[in-house]
Structure formats: structure tokens, C-alpha cells
């Protein structure tokens, strides 16, 4: 029995899709994966999966948000494969070891951030600073943070995707938060 929705929505032209959505999907992936070649592959896989699944989707909702949904899965798949590599050992510029003294006290006590949060949300320079601070994190730590805070995955999902224990994840999120907080403090709120 033919699907009346699919019949009224012919499959898209791949060329059009690449032109309409390619850059957007690429930038979305790049912000999370940081590697041009990898992101090109991930975007290609996304289009491929979308074209294959078209009969099931066939215009039921916004095309781009559907594509982004597929892209998110592809990103997590990639990270899962990446997670099997040896964990990197690079240390973030603001690691917890440096932020506290031997007695567990703050070396540099958190300063008052007197900016109204609403003010920074529309400030282009602030987002650039935020992005640069993300880049100071070790890659796996950044990944864990983005999956948790931007993709809003559950802890279990992230642990499964990265093949790590909840304890590992807790440590990585802690390092990410400590590093980002201090980086933003130094480069924005105290600058």
C-alpha cells in the first residue's frame, strides 16, 4: 500500500540539498569535531542516510531540523569510534590541579562576574571568546562537555557513546567546567 505522504513529496535533489544545507550542517559538525575532513565525511554520511530514509520522513516536519537530528547521531557515532583510541594526555591550561593549593583552597578565588547574563548573550565578541575557551580544552574533555551541555544527552548515553565509565565522565565534565569557567573569567569578565 503506497504511502500517500511519500507520494506527494518526491525525493529531493541531492545537489539542492548540498547547496541548501551543506554549509549549515558542516559548521554545526565543525564546532563539535574541529576537523575539516572528518566533518565533510560526517555531512556526507548524513545526506546519504537522509536520502535513504526519505520515504519515512517525506516532509513530515522541517527538513533542516530533521537533517540536524541525523547529523547529531552521526557525530556521536564518530565520537564513539574515536573514543576507542588512546586517551590523550594533554593538560588544559586551567586544570583543577592548578586552580587549588595543596590544602584545597582556591589559588585564584572566583571573581564577581558583574555582567548581566542577558547582556552577553547578544554580544558577538563574547561568543567568540566562549568558542576560543572551548578550544583550550583537551579534545575528549571538550567532547564530553558538548555532548552533555549542548546535545543534552544523559550521562548513560554519553558513557555509551564514548565508552567510558560514569566516574570518567564526571572527571571530564569537572575538568571542562573548571577550565571554561576560569578561561572566561580571565578572558572576558576580568579583561
Amino acid at each position: 500500500m503506497a504511502d500517500p505522504i511519500a507520494e506527494n513529496h518526491p525525493p529531493p535533489d541531492p545537489n539542492t540539498w548540498v547547496e541548501l544545507h551543506g554549509d549549515f550542517l558542516f559548521r554545526y559538525a565543525y564546532a563539535r569535531l574541529g576537523d575539516r575532513t572528518v566533518c565533510e565525511d560526517v555531512v556526507q554520511d548524513t545526506f546519504l542516510a537522509a536520502l535513504r530514509d526519505w520515504p519515512k520522513f517525506a516532509g513530515r516536519s522541517a527538513e533542516r531540523s530533521w537533517l540536524v537530528g541525523i547529523l547529531k547521531h552521526k557525530i556521536v557515532d564518530h565520537l564513539r569510534r574515536e573514543g576507542r583510541r588512546v586517551a590523550e594526555t594533554s593538560v588544559s591550561a586551567w586544570s583543577p590541579e592548578e586552580l587549588f593549593d595543596a590544602a584545597g583552597r582556591w589559588r585564584c578565588r572566583p571573581a564577581r562576574w558583574s555582567t548581566n547574563p542577558q547582556d552577553v548573550l547578544t554580544n558577538k565578541e563574547f561568543w567568540e571568546t566562549f568558542w576560543h575557551c572551548l578550544q583550550t580544552l583537551p579534545q575528549r574533555v571538550r567532547t564530553a562537555f558538548c555532548l552533555r551541555e549542548m546535545h543534552e544527552l544523559t550521562r548513560d548515553d554519553i558513557c555509551a557513546a564514548l565508552q567510558i565509565t560514569p566516574t570518567n565522565l564526571g572527571v571530564m565534565l569537572y575538568r571542562a567546567r573548571m577550565g571554561l569557567r576560569r578561561c572566561l573569567e580571565v578572558n572576558w569578565f576580568e579583561a
Partner: protein, 87 residues
């Protein structure tokens, strides 16, 4: 008594899991007495808020990050998709 370092770790943890009541009480007591850790906690919540609103694809980020697929990449992808779906 918990140190600020221990509290910082627990506060981060509390963003992802519900901590046992005993730890929540210990944190609460520390936060009442330590304005720096109180600030820290507010700042972590702020960080969560902005991370959720972060739109990496918008104009306001990444001056030195690529703005999109290169023309070569677009052609390659188009060709590949055509080859997979040629009728």
C-alpha cells in the same frame, strides 16, 4: 569539613546526578560559609545556561573557523550522492 576543591568537584557532580542527602548537606553548609564557592556554583549554572544557548552556526562565532564546505567538498559530496542514487 570539605575543602573548596572537594566542594567544586561535588558541585560539578550535582549538575549531572542527584547527590546523596549527606553530601548535599555538607555542600550546603560550605556554600553558606564560603562566598567564593557560592559564586563558583552560580558561575557553573551560568556556564550551563550559555552552553545551551550556544549556536555554533550563527554569525557570532568562529572568525577563524571555516564558514562551510569548500567548493571541492560540495562537488565530491554531490557526486557521491548521485552515484548512490542514480536512477
Amino acid at each position: 569539613m570539605l575543602s573548596c576543591k572537594e566542594v567544586s568537584r561535588l558541585v560539578s557532580e550535582s549538575l549531572d546526578v542527584r547527590l546523596p542527602i549527606r553530601q548535599r548537606i555538607q555542600i550546603g553548609i560550605h556554600l553558606l560559609m564560603c562566598m567564593y564557592c557560592s559564586r563558583f556554583r552560580r558561575q557553573l549554572l551560568f556556564l550551563r545556561d550559555i552552553a545551551r544557548r550556544y549556536h555554533p552556526t550563527a554569525d557570532h562565532v568562529q572568525n577563524d573557523a571555516p564558514q562551510g564546505l569548500s567548493d571541492d567538498a560540495k562537488e565530491r559530496i554531490k557526486q557521491y550522492l548521485r552515484s548512490q542514487f542514480s536512477s
